[in-house]
Symmetry: C2
Subunit: 320 residues, 2 copies
C-alpha cells in the first residue's frame, strides 16, 4: 500500500494540487485559480475542498494518505507553518499549514517553493542519483535550493538556499533589495527583460527593437535570438556567463555533483548553457569543475508538487 | 585518562608538532625547520623523530596517544593520506600519512590546513558554541573551511570549503589561476601588497610611498594605516568591503552563525572589520545578516594543530 501525500503548489495565479505517491509520482491533479488578494481563510477553505476530492480518489485506490505538503513562496517559517509574507497574495503572518490542516484533518506541512522544486528534481528529475546538488529557478526572481549529502540544507534560521542572492558582480544593477549585482538582479526573467529593453534602444535596427515595449519577455527575446538576432544572442550569452560565475562559486565552496537550472527561462537552455558551462569550468578548481554537471530541469511545473510531497513525508517521519 | 593526539602543522618553512589533549589543549610543543625542498622520506623521518619525543612526554603523563594528524597545504586527498601537490615543498603525490605512520606506529591522518584551522576555531576558538560556521584565512592565499551542522563539509571529492575561490568581482585582478576577482585575488596578503605598491605609485606623497619596494607587506601597510595614511586606510577599507561581499554571499546561501577571519592579515581586524560588517549587512537577507556574527580568529597559529588533532580523533572513531 502506497503512502500518498496531498501536495499543493501555491502560486500567485493558481494553486495546483496533486495526489502524490511515496516515490513522487503525481497520480491525480487539480488546479484552481486563486482570486486577487484572497483572504487566507478563503484560500485555505478552497485548498481543503480540492484536497477532499483527491482524498476520495485515494480511497478508490485503497491508498493511505499520510499527510499534506504546501509549497509556497516565502519568506516563511517551515517549522511553524506560517507564511511571513507573500507580496503576490498580499498575506502577512498567515498560519497556512494550520488553516489547511484544520480543513482536511491530516498533518499538513509548509515548505519554501524553491526548496520544494529542488527536492523534486532530486527525487525524480535532473538531480536523481546525486547526493549533493543545487537548483536555480530563473523566473521573476531567481530561487534556489541546496541539498548536501542527501539532506535539504536550511541553515540556522530556515533561510539558507537563497542562491539567487549570491553576489555575481558587485557593480551590477539591483533588483529588489540593496544587493547590487546579485544573481537574481542579473539572471532573472525580470533582469532579462530590463536588459532587453535597454539593448533594443541601443540597437534600433535589431529584431529585438521591433518588439513593442509590452511584448518584451523571456519568450520573445528567445525567439529573436533563435532567429539569429545578435543583440538577443548576446543577452543570453551574458546571462549564461553570469550563471557560470555563480556556479563556479558554488563548485569551489560546496563541491556538488549537480546544478539544475529550472524556471521559465530554462526553456532557453541552448541559448545560455554553452557560455554558462565555459565560465563555470574556467573559474572552478579543476576537480570541482569536472565534477559539477549542469542540467536543465526535467520536471517543469511538477517539481514543486513532487518535492513538497517528499519533504512532507520526511517531516511526518521526523527526518527533516 | 585523556586520549591525546600527535598533531603536525606542516608549513613551507617549519613543521610544528604538538601533543594535544582530546579537548584540544596543546600540552607540549615542538618546532623544526623543514629544509628547502626536502625529500618526503626525510621530512617524514624528521616528523617521526619529533613525534617520538612527544610520545615519551605522553608516557610520563600516563596519557594514551590514540593517533596522529597532519595538517598540510593541498591539494591533498584526506581519505588516502596523499598530498597531491605542495608547490612550497616541491612535492607531488606523496603518501605522507603512510610515511609518518610507518615511523611512529600509530594511525596517522592527513587533513587540509584550512579545514584543520576551521575545526580548531570551532572546537576552542572564535567559533566555539556554534554548529554552522566558516573560516577565511588571509595569508599568501585565502584559505577556507566550512562546518555545517557540526560537521566539516568536504564535498563530493574532498575539495569543498575553498571559500577563497568564490567570485567577488568578476572584472577584478587574478592571482594564481584563471578566476579573476576571486576573494583570494582581492583579499590575500599577496593582493594587499600588489595593491599597496600600485597605490604608492599613484600617491607619491603618501606614507605608503615612503616604504621601500621590499618593505611593503601586510604589517607595514597596516602601520601606515594606523598612522593615519589615507591611502593605506582606503586599501583596508576596500579589503573589508570585498570580504563583506563574500560573507553576504555565504549568509544568503548557507545561513551560518559565525564567520571567523584568521591568517596574518587578521591582525589588522580593526582596519577592515567595519567596512566588512557594513557590506555584509547591506547585502545579506535580513535574518541571515542578523544571524551571521563575524569574528577575529582567536587561536592564531595553534588553530591548525588543535583542529587536526580533533579531526584525527573523528577519523579514528569513524565519524568523519
Amino acid at each position: 500500500m502506497s503512502r500518498d501525500v496531498i501536495a499543493f503548489d501555491l502560486g500567485g495565479t493558481n494553486v495546483r494540487c496533486g495526489l502524490v505517491s511515496e516515490d513522487g509520482k503525481i497520480l491525480v491533479r487539480a488546479k484552481h485559480a486563486v482570486g486577487k488578494k484572497p483572504k487566507p481563510e478563503d484560500a485555505a477553505a478552497q485548498m481543503a475542498e480540492m484536497a477532499k476530492k483527491l482524498l476520495k480518489e485515494a480511497n478508490k485506490r485503497h491508498d493511505e494518505v499520510a499527510c499534506a505538503g504546501i509549497g509556497s513562496p516565502g519568506p516563511l517559517n517551515s517549522q511553524t507553518g506560517i507564511i511571513v509574507e507573500t507580496p503576490n497574495l498580499g498575506w502577512k503572518n498567515v498560519p497556512l499549514a494550520k488553516l489547511v490542516q484544520d480543513g482536511i484533518g491530516i498533518p499538513t506541512y509548509l515548505e519554501n517553493d524553491a526548496n520544494s522544486a529542488c527536492w523534486g528534481e532530486y527525487m525524480r528529475g535532473a538531480g536523481k542519483g546525486t547526493q549533493t546538488m543545487f537548483i536555480l529557478t530563473l523566473g521573476t526572481g531567481v530561487g534556489g535550493g541546496l541539498i548536501l549529502g542527501g539532506k535539504l540544507w536550511k541553515g540556522i534560521d530556515d533561510i539558507a538556499g537563497h542562491l539567487g542572492h549570491i553576489v555575481v558582480d558587485p557593480d551590477g544593477p539591483k533588483q529588489v533589495f540593496d544587493n547590487p549585482g546579485s544573481l537574481e538582479a542579473l539572471c532573472s526573467a525580470t533582469a532579462l527583460i530590463r536588459d532587453a529593453k535597454a539593448a533594443a534602444k541601443e540597437h534600433p535596427k535589431s529584431k529585438l527593437a521591433k518588439l513593442a515595449e509590452d511584448e518584451v519577455n523571456g519568450q520573445t527575446v528567445a525567439e529573436c535570438a533563435e532567429a539569429g538576432d545578435k543583440v538577443a544572442l548576446d543577452l543570453f550569452e551574458r546571462l549564461g556567463r553570469h550563471l557560470g560565475i555563480a556556479c563556479a562559486s558554488f563548485a569551489n565552496v560546496l563541491n556538488p555533483e549537480a546544478g539544475v537550472i529550472g524556471g521559465g527561462l530554462a526553456a532557453s537552455w541552448k541559448l545560455f548553457a554553452p557560455a554558462m558551462q565555459k565560465e563555470m569550468k574556467r573559474r572552478a578548481l579543476g576537480p570541482a569543475g569536472a565534477r559539477l554537471k549542469l542540467h536543465q530541469a526535467k520536471l517543469g511545473d511538477d517539481a514543486g508538487m513532487t518535492g513538497v510531497a517528499g519533504l512532507a513525508l520526511l517531516r511526518l517521519d521526523g527526518k527533516l
